[in-house]
Symmetry: C2
Amino acid sequence: MTTLDMLIKSLSRLPGVGAKSAARIAYHLIQSDGEFNRKLAVQIAELQDRVFNCSICGSYTETDPCPICTDSSRDTSLICVVEHPQDILTIESSGSYFGLFHVLGGAISPLDGIGPEQLAIGSLIRRIKDGHFSEVIAATNPTEEGDTTALYLARLLKETGIPVSRLASGLPIGGDLEYADRITLARSMRGRIRLGSF
Amino acid sequence: MTTLDMLIKSLSRLPGVGAKSAARIAYHLIQSDGEFNRKLAVQIAELQDRVFNCSICGSYTETDPCPICTDSSRDTSLICVVEHPQDILTIESSGSYFGLFHVLGGAISPLDGIGPEQLAIGSLIRRIKDGHFSEVIAATNPTEEGDTTALYLARLLKETGIPVSRLASGLPIGGDLEYADRITLARSMRGRIRLGSF
């Protein structure tokens, strides 16, 4: 196997990169300037040495605690619970939330053998009981597992009196009714909002 | 900028990788086994030191001449002319051709300032005049530039008497008439084949 074949094989193991895209990327790298390739290689090689999980919230960070946990300008009365570290990036990029985060590491899924004890739920409950939170946003995915996890958290936190909320489900903005799936459409119908009420 | 942000930025410069896929790949790399990352980094870092252009056909190779040019089992009476080295991989993967190749490095495009002298056409003509070819397949892309280049080659090679052919254009197999563009449909209409004639 040639170097090129081996690189294409490695690249095609990356998520969202098929055999054709892998070849396209490899050919691009042959022709790109050497400096870019050297930089990319170093970034990949050093990634796991530099990036680890924040000991408080579990997000990926290069300093412990992470920049979000130590940012005094953030609203420390809000905590947003997500399944994976990358969900933090997604929510941050929406610019709609300025509170703290907590990464569970997944969602409850009995079929996959993932129960509450496999997730960072114990540390979440301790954080909430030790803190001064006014709301817990369960931003797990809008899937059966994510919904189950959110309900589980709501039940666990009931005694604290802190409300647990869930992100709204419905039609994507800029979308088209015609392309909405039935379940999303049913959810957005049930969750319909009276005009003038917001 | 964190290591993760820098890696995402580098990855998003690769062809076919947008900001979202770059983030997805970076998060995958954080979680993947370290051995895979080290191997991928070395492959990227060493790529340009190991892979270069074949001095005969111009394809990417790690030995000179390349494995195709030195393969005595191939049909040395056929030469297939392509725009880019990666086109060789595509044609090879079809399993429909067993002759030699020649890479032009692009196609004639006066608007982009690419004339015959910017392409490996001189070396192609010398190869053809020095060799014993029975057919030249101009497998440049089915675009205006590719067609122009193929016609240019046919005119140059007219005096040699060696026929120059072009890949057939038409409907993709498994495709649907409804999704064919007008130009492809017009070409496949003009190039229609009488049943029983092949």
